[in-house]
Symmetry: D2
Amino acid sequence: MAGNLIGREFTITTFGESHGKVVGVLIDGCPAGLGLSETDFEEELKERIPDNPKIVSARIEKDVPQILSGVFNGYTTGAPLVIIVENREVQSGDYEVIKNLPRPSHSDYPARIRYGGFNDYRGSGRFSGRMTVALIIAGVVAKKLLAHYDIEVLAYTQAIGLIKSDKEVSLFECRKNRNATTTRCLDVACAEKMEAAIVAAKESGDSLGGVIECVTFNMPAGIGEPLFDTLDGDLAKALFSIPAVKGVEFGRGFRVAELRGTENNDAFCIQEGRVVTVTKNAGGILGGLSNGMPIVIRVAIKPTPSIVKEQQTVNLLTYENTQISIKGRHDPCIVPKAVPAVEAAVAITLVDHLMRSGNISKILKRP
Amino acid sequence: MAGNLIGREFTITTFGESHGKVVGVLIDGCPAGLGLSETDFEEELKERIPDNPKIVSARIEKDVPQILSGVFNGYTTGAPLVIIVENREVQSGDYEVIKNLPRPSHSDYPARIRYGGFNDYRGSGRFSGRMTVALIIAGVVAKKLLAHYDIEVLAYTQAIGLIKSDKEVSLFECRKNRNATTTRCLDVACAEKMEAAIVAAKESGDSLGGVIECVTFNMPAGIGEPLFDTLDGDLAKALFSIPAVKGVEFGRGFRVAELRGTENNDAFCIQEGRVVTVTKNAGGILGGLSNGMPIVIRVAIKPTPSIVKEQQTVNLLTYENTQISIKGRHDPCIVPKAVPAVEAAVAITLVDHLMRSGNISKILKRP
Amino acid sequence: MAGNLIGREFTITTFGESHGKVVGVLIDGCPAGLGLSETDFEEELKERIPDNPKIVSARIEKDVPQILSGVFNGYTTGAPLVIIVENREVQSGDYEVIKNLPRPSHSDYPARIRYGGFNDYRGSGRFSGRMTVALIIAGVVAKKLLAHYDIEVLAYTQAIGLIKSDKEVSLFECRKNRNATTTRCLDVACAEKMEAAIVAAKESGDSLGGVIECVTFNMPAGIGEPLFDTLDGDLAKALFSIPAVKGVEFGRGFRVAELRGTENNDAFCIQEGRVVTVTKNAGGILGGLSNGMPIVIRVAIKPTPSIVKEQQTVNLLTYENTQISIKGRHDPCIVPKAVPAVEAAVAITLVDHLMRSGNISKILKRP
Amino acid sequence: MAGNLIGREFTITTFGESHGKVVGVLIDGCPAGLGLSETDFEEELKERIPDNPKIVSARIEKDVPQILSGVFNGYTTGAPLVIIVENREVQSGDYEVIKNLPRPSHSDYPARIRYGGFNDYRGSGRFSGRMTVALIIAGVVAKKLLAHYDIEVLAYTQAIGLIKSDKEVSLFECRKNRNATTTRCLDVACAEKMEAAIVAAKESGDSLGGVIECVTFNMPAGIGEPLFDTLDGDLAKALFSIPAVKGVEFGRGFRVAELRGTENNDAFCIQEGRVVTVTKNAGGILGGLSNGMPIVIRVAIKPTPSIVKEQQTVNLLTYENTQISIKGRHDPCIVPKAVPAVEAAVAITLVDHLMRSGNISKILKRP
């Protein structure tokens, strides 16, 4: 099977390359009757890039989304949606030098083998963080669909390097403050330390990784398709499509390994006539199915592999060891930019499963 | 899409229930020409259950595999393979009491909603650890296919509760000692402590979780289908189908969040004419593609939710709070039994991707 | 993609071989809550074989269906259904002689290439008409689901060789008389001529083909997924899985090529408050979608390729021309046995599309 | 599953609407290394429309193909290919009148139900013959891939209304003369009669249908995936996605129903060291697999439903009977324009199956 499609009912195929003509997405299976216009995408794309030149790459695309198909009279038609943005801020010359010198911890080397050298290597081509723009565009559609059903997905930075935020923040603060800090951290004091850490890493020609947490509110119980199309499995799969993700965990995640059953089990109780759990260690998923509690996911993001410091690599033409110092415009830490990508990956997966279960219908009611 | 199938070229559908007639698997897309007989499955199924009554459930099935289709004259035909084992050691009466009282941190509650109460709840039905027998059977076929190409998958216990094994063990020791300890830990001294911890938990009516690590040797570079059918994404998805998995990470996993680019990047070098990396933080995957280094995966396993200690739950008929004490036969720690399931999930995913890339052909050469 | 699965929401994978242990089917995606027992299959399997030794093969299996999984307390659970019948009446020795001599117009030759010679060639293996038993079993489930929604699928013989039935028969007669004649023809006078034609062909060591028509009543309008998963396209695909089908047409089919628009167009009108068409040339499908009128399909069935008369073929070991006279037990005309297979293929495709559209829900209401 | 995608390895999703911004196609799974440029599409798109104003619609798009992604340095990269043409010659006002009056034998009525009235009805939207432009674009890529392997697909008009061509024409003439006649008939004398028939139908405000035959040369044996993803089944499915197709048959098709086994069976023989058949009744497919002989397919095309003559229909707002006379620009016979669409549908299906079998590799050799 060709491998650029995700989902079963609500399917997403991204296309385009970092330095090609466009980056875009084809969505098949979007319900008919969703109000949608190009302005819906503009805000999300604008917010994608933190307004802080100290911590982001010098390549700043003013992305102008164009809907090519699937919308008629302001509503989705049920036919495939195609939405593109053109690439403009391209400096491909930067990449010729690395054509035969794979950058450490980049996809350059395996991609060359996978595609027999025919792949567009400029700016990492299909493997660039730039491709998350297409994911985020799809996420806008998914989040609008979820909003119809009062389901809300919120991601935020939990850690950058060694700086970690443990402060509990309310949903209200979440909504309000997520984009208030340029590092997308809900804890303002912590956000300042994170920014300083990124600036310091950048100045030393180095980079930082971090952890993003994502919470989904109001997800109904019983969503998922065990044994194989589990909700957690499909969420994890979608999240690993974001470059730099190296781990995905739910609820208390890896920490459950150290707990006893008596500590980890979430007791059920009745609260306002609903079945809820007293604790939330499961992260909202049991047996591959949502259990009606908030879905809590954490993803580990590795430090940007593109760093200015000289590194050891090989020349793939001569098969000799050599050195590389990466030019081009790179983010010293991609965590803040990855936050909306995480939200998008989660939202499209949830929409897909909600459609599979029949909880999102194929034709939305006229407002 | 019906959700009980995984894979694209080498597809697995498991069927059966914990207390039903059989547990089985249908494999579609297995290459023709693989030597296969029922004895191939017997050893793996026998080794699945540690020979140690102190740490395993009292339900011990002597599983007798039957090949129903897809093998002719000792070789796979290319037609669907169906393999079953009958369930014999069933004590379903144990489960009637929990019909309307969902066990904490079990799938009982969301499954009831998902299937409108029609699901077979006896012994957790489809959600039982018993279903991993079907996965393991498929894994036997996958591992035989990988062996044709000299690829080897090995999983082992890395931690149980607070007991962790850090000792580096060679591949040779790996192969030899994996099943030498009943906890499936490569480090013998550590294995003893793990066993003691499980026994202690059992005696106190409690349970333990742990961490399983899985390493794949000799995987060629360039395997995977970005952007969505990434190798890491598909491995994670397969692994989350194993009950109790709450986290999946590759290489240094969540620890990369704390590293700088200079620390995390794996420099390339030429070694015996091959491109390799000096360090192995990536865990063998870059940009969703294998990079030719060993693939290293870790999964977090939660403590068995079935514990004897009384727990708080709800009655789903009356919507009142109540208590439950779980009878039935349960493992105080499922980590040792989950080790072959992890291996199976990894092996079937790798075979699928190797077939997609054409690295495993559809007709094997006659030996 | 492995190729033995059909459907998206209601998926069918058949397994087994003509002379193997079993023939069976795995159904994934069957709604929970359908009453189902082994007796449901017995009648259909019994009626499959016309009670008339003059026109059917001497191999008569008394098929005993066994449900291996997916049913609990008499209702489907929503988990995969596996149903098998054992093969008993096997005389495999008949087939050794044809191992290297492909029978004209049989799958022997391309199957040998496709599977590198590893395929089970006994009795045509996977390519045998025997495999339609698995399709028919799946069709029983599909027809029970359709019956919940008052949708009815009826197939019958329209032509055998040069004998054609043109008589219009009412739905009431349809239901009553379909299995009254051993050739499955609704027109009793015609049925007698068909039987005589088959007997004559058999006596001369020859065989006959024919045409089967299938009508579906009460199908709602708007079902189908253009542009590619069209209702007619998916019906055709399912029908071509029945051995010996060489053509599929809808409504007036190939005859529309000779009509003018004024002759072929079906005018709309209101009848009892419903939109209907005055004529029925479209066969119930427009633009890949059902239009609310009965769906009318015709399939062409070729004469049984296995004939006693000596035929020219080749020896695949020596690559020399040679002759073959086919022994074994064969039907002189498979049309009557193919009638329930056509019904099954249509029913499973309709269920699949009705589930995709949400018209059949994933949990049936308790009766 | 969202329904706008076809194929498994070489997948096609078309998008756009007749009167929307663009018509386009996304191809996923195209091998890397195929030389491809926009001029490759120009010729095919130009030839699509017979240069004969007497027999074609007044809407003539000068389609300018744009490759948006998937090509780098003149070669496909292995990433998704997106190719679009803009719609320019749009007169949407023509369609407002039919918004609530479904045209007889058009998709208007079922489409309105399927999409809850949100579908773009202008010019039939997604159901317009205009969408075949996207199919033809995909077909160009598929035919270039087939040409790498010396496989050639040729379709031509066999009948228009009552005018039928029976003359045998050589492959050489085929290649040379297919586009020599504006009706795409290989028999020049017959072509003139066909043209006259179309002109006569047009003048009387009526329309004609016809039959298209398609032959594929050099297809290797053993391609297909029984039992469900049969080669004939998948070809039929793809062909039914072309608007107006009402029947598909292989080889002698429906005529086999009248033949005896001795007449229909194709004897094997050795010819120049290859296994071939003496006769060609099977149309190149046995048991769902190619048998190495030319693949012969015929499709029935219905007369254009849009005719000037007044027809009876219903008003979907008032549920009253009414009349309609269809304005807009329509082809009096779409058969000539459907010829390249048939070729495209066949070519993309064959590429998909050749990739599934490994006969087309994922990376083409550099020329």
